[in-house]
């Protein structure tokens, strides 16, 4: 608590929230108390007023002699004069009863009024009702309302003390909550500072309470995981770029230097230029493939999406690669099991390139007299494409790695290619909300692009971020 300054406390959301609730609760209780007070006081007063009216009516109804007898009897029963009744003549002189004189000179008639009477050494409040008789005399009935007033005062006092208690407890609670959140925010801020300074492995502290701050911290930690993964990937890519671009560039430079040194004839120069062009094209092609992947991964291309039939694209791909399969003596066929229902929102060129990449790989790695099959299907309205070959397959432990940029499985070291193909396919798949699976076809390998039911939008959303 010592580290928490008051100015910090005042700025915290939880402290402010606690204060706000305190104010709200205070107002609500005040209203409730006020209402209770108003109702109780009103009830007590109306009870007295009804009694006064009843008494005065019964006195007025009696004959004069009966009235006097009645008053005397009443006075006998009420020696304390807590309920003083009296009869005064028109001039204001007392005729009978236990009230010494008129309580006020100008007496209000037929409506309850309050007045004070000396009782011993204190002035007590009374409530009374006066009525004029046909003879001009005035009958007064009244009641001591001291207790009623005391009860009201007690009520107000209790309310005031209760309110004060609530206020103190509420303030203390708000300060405690606020201080807690100040400490929490300080912890998180310190962790963030350490991360900014370069310790990417650091994570924000959580308390495992699944509270709102924990949820936020979890989201940020998830983002940090992604950033860390991307940083590693970028580093891996730069290393791979360094290798994949430096090699042809070195060859290019060496070739040109050799030509400059040794070439004697136009033909030799021409050959050197041709060689240089070839190397440069290889560099450009690797470079272009890398740019394409990042372009696909940034997700902006989804703007140009339209509704497509996956089967139609797969048919185009099959038709395009058919001659290549023939040259390699691989039997190559398309099986459309979707019945025209493999509809997908997408970019035709990207999907063609992705499926083409899979087919190209499959044909490349399938030995002659092998078989490559492209299958288009639609399960529970989720379209997909599967490319199966009878090649050597991809070992289970390498399946994740082959999706990384520039990764070349051992088996493919001696074949051509940039090692970017499958990561491009993965990027295209992500962009289209498709998941990429690599499976064992025994023998050979199956690569499946498939949309996954309810998770589609989540995948799409994840692809955007």
């Amino acid at each position: 608590m010592s580290s928490v300054r008051l100015s910090d406390l005042r700025r915290t959301t939880s402290f402010r929230l606690a204060l706000m609730f305190l104010a709200l609760f205070g107002t609500a209780s005040l209203t409730l108390f006020g209402f209770l007070y108003w109702q109780t006081a009103g009830y007590l007063k109306s009870g007295t007023d009804e009694w006064l009216a009843r008494e005065v009516t019964s006195l007025v109804a009696a004959s004069p002699s009966q009235l006097i007898a009645h008053l005397q009897e009443h006075a006998a029963h009420d020696p304390e004069a807590n309920r003083p009744f009296a009869l005064f003549d028109a001039a204001g002189n007392k005729v009978a009863g236990n009230m010494a004189k008129l309580p006020t000179p100008s007496l209000p008639l037929d409506r309850p009024f309050e007045f004070k009477l000396n009782r011993g050494d204190e002035l007590l409040p009374f409530r009374g009702l006066a009525r004029r008789l046909p003879s001009g005399d005035i009958v007064i009935v009244s009641q001591n309302v001291h207790q009623m007033h005391e009860f009201r005062e007690l009520l107000v006092g209790a309310m005031a003390w209760g309110g004060l208690l609530v206020l103190i407890m509420g303030l203390a609670g708000a300060a405690m909550i606020g201080a807690g959140s100040v400490r929490r925010i300080d912890e998180v801020a310190c962790a963030i500072e350490r991360i900014v300074k370069g310790n990417l492995a650091e994570r924000l502290p959580t308390r495992g309470t699944a509270g709102d701050l924990d949820r936020l911290v979890d989201a940020v930690n998830g983002m940090l995981d992604d950033i860390e993964r991307l940083m590693h990937e970028v580093k891996g890519v730069s290393d791979a770029v360094a290798h994949d671009l430096r090699t042809p560039l070195t060859r290019l430079l060496a070739g040109l230097e050799r030509a400059g040194r040794r070439a004697a004839s136009v033909d030799e120069y021409a050959a050197a230029v041709d060689e240089a062009i070839g190397e440069t094209k290889a560099v450009l092609s690797t470079f272009g493939a890398m740019l394409r992947i990042s372009e696909v991964e940034d997700g902006a291309r989804r703007v140009g999406f339209k509704s497509l039939d996956l089967a139609a694209i797969a048919a185009d791909v099959t038709e395009f690669y058919q001659p290549l399969a023939e040259v390699k003596d691989v039997s190559f066929s398309l099986k459309d099991e979707s019945g025209g229902s493999a509809k997908i929102a997408g970019d035709p060129s990207l999907l063609f390139e992705a499926i083409g990449n899979l087919v190209d790989n499959a044909i490349k790695f399938t030995p002659s007299e092998g078989r490559v099959t492209v299958r288009v299907f639609c399960q529970d309205e989720n379209p997909g494409v599967m490319v199966t070959d009878t090649g050597p397959g991809i070992p289970a432990e390498e399946r994740e790695a082959v999706l990384r940029r520039f990764y070349r499985a051992e088996r493919s070291r001696h074949t051509s290619g940039s090692g970017l193909g499958l990561s491009l396919v993965a990027a295209v798949a992500r962009l289209h909300g498709l998941n990429l699976f690599i499976d064992d076809a025994k023998p050979g390998c199956s690569v499946i692009l498939r949309r996954e039911g309810a998770s589609t939008w989540r995948t799409l959303a994840a692809a955007v971020t």
């Binding site: 041709d274 062009i277 070839g278 094209k281 450009l284 092609s285 470079f287 272009g288 493939a289 740019l291 394409r292 372009e295 902006a300 291309r301 703007v303 140009g304 185009d316 038709e319 395009f320 690669y321 001659p323 290549l324 040259v327 970019d347 035709p348 060129s349 990207l350 063609f352 390139e353 083409g356 190209d360």
Partner: protein, 227 residues
């Protein structure tokens, strides 16, 4: 001699493009800003315009293009761009562009495409028969004959041949073939198109005829009949 206007802000790139097009027999003018490009294209007649997508100085490539189209300049425009996204391409073509090439590009690709654009205007589209040497293509019945003999082609092979025959003696790159015949847009890096061309070539040359479709090293193909 066909005249081409190159609107490109980078002076060296513009000079290289001009040199490459000059080597292919074009008469080239250069402009280095959008404003200059607009003035030149409006004042003179060109058979084709090479237009950089991103130009400095307020008037960018697409603005130049739509202004040209508004004032009635109909010359085919090839857009050069560092932006390869599909919607960029669509935007360029929608603004009135006729072709789109992403940087970095090969100059052979550029000159081949410009030649096609220039030629496209020269050839009347109502042609029903294409001829190259002893090759005859009936565009209505889609029948192909070599020295009178009917050649059986698959639809895609016919499409390839027709595209090549529409630009005789002109280099057509693999990317152009892929875009035109298969209708997808990306830089195809495999040798599959070579295999397709090989099959087509074998069918056409069957019977010991001299080859019609020639491979041009480092760039593409050309359909050329022996003299």
């Amino acid at each position: 001699m066909a005249r081409v206007l190159v609107v490109e802000d980078d002076v060296q790139t513009a000079a290289e493009i001009a040199a490459a097009l000059g080597d292919s027999g074009f008469d080239v003018d250069c402009a280095h800003t959008g404003r200059e490009g607009l003035l030149k294209a409006g004042a003179d007649t060109y058979e084709a315009i090479v237009l950089d997508r991103m130009l400095p100085g307020g008037v960018d490539g697409l603005a130049v293009l739509s202004t040209l189209r508004t004032v009635g300049v109909e010359a085919p425009v090839l857009i050069l761009s560092a932006l390869s996204a599909v919607d960029e391409r669509v935007r360029g073509l929608r603004a009135g562009g006729d072709d789109y090439l992403t940087k970095p590009f090969e100059f052979l690709e550029l000159t081949a495409r410009i030649e096609v654009l220039v030629r496209r205007q020269a050839i009347p589209q109502r042609e029903t028969m294409l001829r190259a040497g002893d090759l005859e293509i009936d565009l209505l019945t889609r029948e192909v004959r070599r020295a009178g003999r009917l050649v059986e082609l698959l639809p895609r092979e016919y499409h390839l041949l027709e595209y090549l025959a529409r630009q005789p003696n002109q280099v057509v790159t693999r990317t152009m073939l892929f875009e035109e015949v298969w209708g997808y847009h990306y830089e195809e890096r495999t040798n599959v198109i070579d295999v397709h061309i090989g099959k087509l070539r074998r069918k056409l040359d069957e019977g010991g005829f001299p080859t019609l479709i020639h491979t041009v090293r480092n760039s593409g193909y050309v359909l050329r009949a022996a003299e």
